[in-house]
Amino acid sequence: MKRQLILEDGTVFIGEGFGSDIETVGEVVFNTGMTGYQEILSDPSYCGQMVTLTYPLIGNYGINRDDFESIQPSIKALIVREASDMPSNFRSELTIDELLKEKNIPGLSGIDTRKLTRMIRQHGTLKGRLTSMDAEVNEVVESLQHVVLSTDQVQQVSTPTPYPSPGRGKRVVLVDFGMKHGILRELNQRDCDVVVVPYNTTVSSILALHPDGVMLSNGPGDPKDVSEAIDMVRELLGKVPVFGICLGHQLFALACGADTFKLKFGHRGSNHPVKEITTGKVAITAQNHGYTVDPASLENTPLHITHVALNDGTVEGLRHDKVPAFTVQYHPEASPGPEDANDLFDQFITMMEQFLKEEVAHA
């Protein structure tokens, strides 16, 4: 059934609806990964966003039971050139249409996704509404100009209650701002004894779990919308080793007095080169962020830049000068995307071991 995507600037894309046929409003962003649509649509960092995939054929290998990054996908809509109804892969269990119906997420196919992508590249991310054909375009545009997109995405996707993911190794408290399962997987693979806690957990209750380290997860939206977390991180520093990813990285920066701002259209894809300053080594990384840390604002903070994006020089990694804490803007847990930066998790483990030794020494 034909449906239309109406953008705040008045552009209309008419295509075939698939998945659920509910109306939806959101911020339209694009991802350039050629594989990994299942991971992308289930990545909580996309909460509140309509995601268009630049690769035209989506759903080719179907949906399987393993590759979800969260149990409840939270994207607003999926926009593609073609959604495959005949997937082929030994793990495939559903078509993408079936999944979106089941999760009550609308999809739009058959549109010129490259045109949409170029618009976003030129004008920056745009608000849009995915709706039925009988919607009155001017009215929609009118209303779009006034809608304020929600600012509580983290609350929406974070776990309401703590839960353990036991292991025999280091005790890690993983603060869930909209965590991708990949992060948990990487920690468990390293035998970590993980406790996942809600985004608004207090420092005292975190420390009460006697963690060897705290991991700040990725998550959706503007880091400044989760002020309680910023304070929490500030207090944590020094007491226990901290490793942050994506939103966790931005919160760490804010906690240390730096500032963040919104990028024109963000970094979303699986081919982003990131250079490690000390070694000069470049890793190809998976990224998904609309905000970034302002390098100028690092001036008189205890932070220094460890990684930069090769292409636009944006801050990709930070380390605290005095206390054991480092963070990256990109996704070392990959899924989807290259696993080049996977060793950061090992660095986190080593950091925790280091910290323990020193404690013993001081005791």
């Binding site: 694009f30 350039t32 990964g33 050629m34 594989t35 990994g36 299942q38 991971e39 630049t54 690769y55 035209p56 054929l57 080719n60 290998y61 399987n64 393993d66 590759d67 050139r81 073609e82 495959s84 005949m86 997937p87 082929s88 892969n89 030994f90 793990r91 549109i111 010129d112 996704t113 490259r114 045109k115 992508t117 170029r118 590249r121 894809g269 699986s270 081919n271 982003h272 080169p273 250079k275 000069g280 080594k281 470049v282 190809i284 090769l310 292409n311 990959a334 899924s335 989807p336 995307g337 290259p338 696993e339």
Partner: protein
């Protein structure tokens, strides 16, 4: 890491002649590499024996050597030029193997030449199947059960262990030469024996067959700082078991989830890191469709056919960056040339689907085994870009120029279901079309999957296409047509379904604005602003191809490389584009061949990577509104579009359509020649067998017969008797009023080839080439010599005169190519091609006349005098130049190698030196003819050739060769008193000449075509046996005579004192 400043001069080795498995992709890679190195300020010395390439142009390297690619000759170049370094990874397998040999020979150490890029040790580790397997085991990367064998017994022993099927892969060979899959003992014997023969190290890998797995390729790059990236991955639609070069391939992979994609990516990068690759590399993997199980098939530690494809598929210039990596630059300090803003250290993101389909030579070699396996048979390939699989696939199909525009075959209705099943089970060149037909007949995709192992994903897409045919047939409604075009349907197909003309469909669409837009290939899926003028057409909303206000000229390329239309035409196309730019126009090229230089987006002002059909070309013209279109450099491909273009009101720049027709249309041509008073072999057109026989009698046998309008002398035969003609008319061609057959008097004599440039008034003749083989051997298959060695001045003047008369008479604006035969002292015209020809690059290079450039300027209105090159016949300078054809018979089982009027060669080399003999020697060596100046020569020739053969034998004998001959031929030798040894014919006694050939007791075979069933068949076996044993087999006495001359020139006389000669030679 900054570039090396300790080296100044770099020697680059090219890949030599075009053969199956090593084609134009290395002209593209080599050219890019040389330019990249010079861009960085290095002095580049290039050696390559292939004159038909851009890379051997003097503008590409500081010094270009066109010498045989052998250790002997390259060592001399090294000693002379003293390069600091050698770059071997851009000249294909040839250059790689040479690098190994050169280093073994010690000359590199002797002259302190460093090997740049990937280290030799790594090359050997990747190429030597045994070393490679060991490395994989160390890395814990899976390879199929396998064993290295050096003889048949070892092979048998291995099969005992793991059972059939097994596959045989010779070490260090091109395109799987000599390899194959064995299901039983006979096949094992045959394939292992040939495999060992072809492997320079008599080593084969026997491997458990994993046929049926998904075949996936990763094109990867690594720099000395250990940055490693994937440029592109590709999925073969044809599963493992069919050579990637013979497989239909799509990019990126379609049926791999991110997990599988990353798993194979990690594996590929791990391997190139372990090997220490510095540059481009190709990793081939096999993935079980039902699990995560994968195997490494092989690694090519160099740029390859696939990397050319990957470059064109993504826009990422692999060869260029590989060359820069070789001199020390690292990926993160080089900008991505496509975006100009982002860096080369990233992984391209595609937002379209690329399909590659190989182009096979079976249309010329009806007798050849058409089925495909682990040994490559394609001569070229085409690529198409679309936004869906369907669009991409159908665009690819119509790019093939095989008279197919859709997933259908002519008279498909006549095929039985059994036949179809067989052709789908056992892959052949036409499998894709059989699948289309099967789906049309309602065969389920599951069934076809079961037969072919082709992934259901692709079969479903094909089904979508077939299913939609009915929809189109049943309605002319806007939405249906729009959908059809989005699915890639050609107007031709829609027209067929509507039964109306293609033109009507085109106009119907345009009226309703159903036209394609053009999107940019930008490596980054539009994430960054890009500057590349590289476009493909698709049926979407937004057009990105901004039309400039400059005056424009469109040049049509020559499409896929095939026998009869090779890289020579790409050479001319590129030079035409350059000339157009020089003349101040915007040069726009349309082509679909991913291997070539012309489709490098940095050549033209705008590149449209599109099929060369009237529909696709017209859409570009509608958008760009050029001054006109240049068709004379794109071979027959472009010429054949001329009339349709004119019909649609497009201006053809250069020679007009009428004049093209006067040269190409048989009757008009005859008229023209009469008007110009230039003799032509007597000939007539027959539309029935009866008529043919009458005509033949009237003009006297032997006659030369062929269907009208053919390229590369297809289905052309010399016929000596009425019975033969009868047989030809009934079996070879179906003569009918609209498919007439041409019957010409066959004139024996010297064949001459001339190319000229004409501005409509003045004619410039860069040179005249004399063929060594007499007329009857296709001009493309004969050895051409410049300047002519045996022509009288009077003949030369006459040829120049005729050529000028023809050029003017046909109002040629641009290039003209003429073939003459001099029979009994009289000159006849055989053929006139009003276009660029196979010999243009050769002549341009040896005479220094930039033919394509001048022709283009003339086309754009300049006069030759104004261009400063004078007119008339250019006087030859010093030196003799020969052009020697190169064949790929080893790759094509069951093809008869006899030279005839039908072209069979795939490539060519050049030999140059002070004398004819020296030049020819080089030419032969460069062509890979193994020349031994002693040993045994076997003669077995047709009766008509015996006397001539005997005199040649005598000369071989004088040089100290042992002469072997079959009875008949022997008697002729007797008469000349040449000592010889009789050998048994096939089926004569136990040890026949075949055994001798196999036993390697014969160094040269001279065999001419004998008519009549039995001898014909024997002759065929003798010739094939020679090929399989890589023993030179000459089928023309002219070639033999020339070769003997070469030997004589190299040899000192060995005669006893006067008077004794006879007796002693008798000993």
């Amino acid at each position: 890491m900054p570039k090396r400043i300790d080296i100044k001069t770099i020697l680059v080795i090219g890949s030599g002649p075009i053969v199956i498995g090593q084609a134009a992709e290395f002209d593209y890679a080599g050219t890019q590499a040389c330019l990249a190195l010079r861009e960085e300020g290095y002095r580049v010395i290039l050696v390559n024996s292939n004159p038909a390439t851009i890379m051997t142009d003097t503008e590409i390297a500081d010094k270009v050597y066109m010498e045989p690619l052998t250790v002997e000759f390259i060592s001399r170049i090294i000693r002379k030029e003293r390069p600091d370094a050698l770059l071997p990874t851009l000249g294909g397998q040839t250059a790689l193997n040479l690098a190994v040999e050169l280093s073994d020979s010690g000359v590199l150490d002797e002259c302190g030449v460093e090997i740049l890029g990937t280290k030799l040790s790594a090359i050997q580790q990747a190429e030597d199947r045994d070393l490679f397997r060991t490395l994989m085991n160390e890395l814990g990367e899976p390879v199929p059960d396998s064993d290295i064998v050096h003889n048949l017994d070892e092979a048998k022993a291995f099969v005992e262990k793991i059972g059939y099927p097994v596959i045989v892969r010779p070490a260090f060979t091109l395109g799987g030469t000599g390899g194959g899959i064995c299901h039983n003992d006979e096949e094992l014997k045959e394939i292992v024996t040939s495999g060992l023969k072809y492997s320079p190290v008599t080593q084969c890998l026997l491997e458990k067959s994993i046929a049926g797995f998904k075949e996936i390729e990763y094109e990867v790059m690594r720099d000395a700082n250990d940055h490693a990236i994937v440029v592109c991955n590709m999925e073969n639609i044809d599963p493992v078991g069919i050579h990637t070069g013979d497989s239909i391939v799509v990019a990126p992979s379609q049926t791999l989830s991110d997990r599988e994609y990353q798993m194979l990516r990690n594996c590929s990068l791990k391997i190139i890191r372990a090997l220490g690759i510095e540059g481009g590399c190709n990793v081939q993997l096999a993935l079980d469709p039902h699990s995560y199980q994968y195997y490494i098939i092989e690694v090519n530690p160099r740029v390859s056919r696939s990397s050319a494809l990957a470059s064109k598929a993504t826009g990422y210039p692999i060869a260029k960056l590989a060359a820069k990596i070789a001199v020390g630059l690292s990926l993160d300090e080089m900008l991505n040339p496509v975006t100009g803003t982002s860096y080369a250290c990233f992984e391209p993101a595609l937002d379209y689907v690329v399909t590659k389909i190989p182009r096979w030579p079976f249309d010329k070699f009806e007798s050849a085994k058409r089925n495909l396996g682990t040994q490559m048979k394609a001569t070229g390939e085409i690529m198409a870009i679309g936004r869906t699989i369907e669009e991409s696939l159908l665009k690819a199909v119509r790019s093939l120029e095989n008279d197919v525009y859709h997933l259908e075959l002519e008279d498909a209705d006549t095929f039985s279901d059994e036949w179809m099943e067989r052709r789908i089970r056992k892959a052949g060149d036409e499998r894709l079309f059989y699948i289309g037909e099967a789906l049309r007949r309602g065969t389920t995709v599951e069934q076809i999957h079961d037969w072919s192992q082709i992934d259901l994903f692709f079969l479903h897409k094909m089904e979508n296409i077939i299913r939609f045919e009915e929809k189109i047939a049943s309605s002319r409604d806007y939405d249906v047509v729009k959908k059809a075009k989005r699915l890639g349907f050609s107007d031709k197909t829609i027209a067929k379904l509507w039964n109306c003309s293609e033109k009507e469909v085109y106009e119907w669409r345009c009226k309703r604005d159903i036209v394609p837009v053009y999107k940019m290939v930008d490596t980054c899926a539009a994430e960054f602003e890009s500057v590349t003028p590289y476009f493909y057409g698709t049926y979407e909303d937004e057009n990105e191809s901004i039309v400039s206000d400059r005056k424009k000229v469109v040049v049509l390329g020559s499409g896929p490389i095939r026998i009869g239309q090779g890289v020579e035409f790409d050479y001319a196309t590129v030079h035409s584009v350059w000339a157009i730019k020089e003349a101040g126009y915007e040069a726009i090229i349309v082509n679909n061949n991913p291997e070539t230089v012309s489709t490098d987006f940095s050549i033209s002002d705008k590149l449209y990577f599109e099929p060369l059909t009237i529909e696709d070309v017209m859409h570009i013209i509608d958008l760009e509104k050029p001054e006109g279109v240049v068709v004379q450099f794109g071979g027959q491909t472009a010429i054949n579009l001329a009339d349709k273009l004119v019909e649609r009101g497009v201006t053809i720049l250069g020679t007009s359509l009428e004049d093209l027709d006067r040269a190409e249309n048989r009757d008009h041509f005859e008229q023209t020649l009469q008007e110009l008073d230039i003799p032509q072999p007597e000939g007539k057109t027959a539309t029935s067998t009866e008529q043919a026989l009458v005509i033949a009698d009237s003009i006297e046998y032997p006659v030369l017969v062929r269907p009208s309008y053919v390229l590369g002398g297809r289905a052309m035969e010399i016929v000596y008797r009425a019975e033969e003609l009868q047989q030809y008319m009934t079996s070879a061609v179906k003569a009918s009023p609209d498919h007439p057959v041409l019957i010409d008097r066959y004139l024996t004599g010297k064949e001459i080839e001339v190319d000229a440039i004409c501005d409509g008034e003045n004619v410039l003749i860069p040179g005249i080439m004399e063929h060594i083989e007499r007329a009857g051997v296709h001009s493309g298959d004969s050895i051409a010599v410049y300047p002519p060695q045996s022509l009288s001045q009077q003949h030369i003047d006459q040829l120049a005169l005729y050529t000028e008369r023809l050029a003017r008479g046909l109002n040629i604006k641009g290039l003209i190519n003429i073939q003459y035969v001099i029979s009994k002292g009289e000159i006849f015209v055989l053929e006139v091609n009003p276009r660029s020809s196979r010999t243009v690059p050769f002549l341009s290079k040896i005479t220094g006349v930039p033919m394509a450039n001048l022709a283009t300027k003339a086309i754009l209105g300049a006069t030759l005098p104004s261009l400063g090159y004078g007119t008339g016949l250019v006087q030859p300078g010093p030196g003799v130049f020969v052009k020697v054809p190169v064949f790929s018979f080893a790759k094509l089982r069951r093809v008869d190698i006899t030279l005839g009027p039908e072209m069979k060669s795939t490539g060519e080399v050049m030999g140059r030196d002070a004398t004819f003999e020296k030049a020819l020697y080089k030419g032969l060596v460069a062509a890979g003819v193994s020349i031994k100046n002693h040993g045994s020569v076997l003669l077995t020739v047709a009766d008509k050739d015996k006397p001539e053969a005997a005199s040649i034998a005598k000369r071989f004998h004088t040089l100290g060769y042992k002469i072997l001959a079959t009875e008949g031929t022997a008697s002729a030798l007797n008469e000349l008193g040449v000592p010889f040894e009789v050998v048994n014919k096939i089926g004569q006694g136990e040890k026949t000449l075949l055994d001798l050939i196999q036993a390697g007791e014969i160094q040269l075979v001279i065999n001419t075509l004998t008519k009549g069933k039995q001898p014909a068949r024997d002759g065929f076996r003798i010739r094939r046996e020679s090929v399989e044993n890589s023993i030179p087999c000459l089928t023309s006495l002219d070639t033999a005579e020339a070769m003997v001359r070469v030997f004589e020139s190299m040899d000192f006389e060995m005669d006893p004192m006067a008077g004794q000669a006879k007796e002693t030679t008798q000993l």
